[in-house]
């Protein structure tokens, strides 16, 4: 039962254009969402997050949009740069979960983004 899904295994974009990475979730208890970026031979690094009380969060070239009714979030990168080429993971958490579930992240399987010069 995969609670967080990234249905596009890969995405190819031209430099300077917009990259849109999508993520769907099924667990309605999730209320905090994160995007991680992973380069080869490195661990995932935190990129941007959003709480369910918001529908948009922006940080420089990166914007995350949350549609709670559709249980969908997306990461927009504008403009895309070759250095953005990496695997992007969506993750979700229930920040109101108590006990041992607090702070646990459920990850999607990742989308490989390639930005061509």
């Amino acid at each position: 039962d995969q609670q967080v899904k990234q249905n596009s295994p890969s995405l190819s974009v031209q430099e300077g254009r917009i990259s849109i990475l999508n993520c769907d979730y099924t667990n309605s208890m999730f209320d905090y969402f994160l995007w991680y970026k992973k380069y080869p031979a490195e661990g995932p690094t935190f990129l941007i997050s959003i709480s369910s009380i918001k529908d948009k969060n922006e940080d420089g070239r990166f914007t995350v949009f949350l549609n709670k009714s559709a249980k969908h979030l997306s990461l927009h990168i504008v403009p895309s740069q070759p250095g953005d080429s990496a695997v992007y993971f969506c993750a979700a958490s229930d920040i109101n979960a108590g006990g041992t579930s607090y702070g646990k992240l459920t990850f999607g399987q990742g989308t490989i983004l390639t930005v061509h010069p």
Binding site: G43, P44, F46, I95, G103, L105, T106
Partner: protein
């Protein structure tokens, strides 16, 4: 620089031969996690420590054990590795204080091969 370090980066073990992976952190975070990630799949949480409290995921096989002797170090022991245990093993840390939720910081991972 504060960081999460995993050793070794690559580990080859034989079928059934116990193996230990290590993780250390200089972030002074009170929570440490171990994930298993197989090719093209999502990282899967195996267990985590909140301070000294060990929390096992319900579907983590008994073959996997963990130790956290102090705040800085955490070990993953695989008692009898099978071919299906070949994967990338990721260690992560986070700081949990009160009601705040902080992002997790990951190490580079250890790639385990079972022959």
């Amino acid at each position: 620089d504060a960081m999460v370090i995993q050793n070794p980066r690559y580990q080859v073990t034989q079928f059934g031969k116990p193996v230990t992976l290590s993780c250390s952190q200089t972030l002074n975070h009170n929570v440490m996690y171990w994930y298993q990630q197989k090719s093209s799949q999502a990282p899967k949480l195996l267990f985590h420590y909140y301070d000294k409290d060990f929390n096992n995921e319900a579907d983590t096989p008994d073959n996997f054990q963990s130790r956290r002797p102090n705040t800085s170090f955490c070990f993953l022991d695989i008692r009898s590795p099978g071919l299906g245990d070949a994967a990338m093993y990721l260690c992560a840390t986070s700081s949990r204080t009160g009601g705040e939720l902080y992002e997790q910081y990951f190490g580079p991972g250890t790639r385990l091969t079972v022959t």
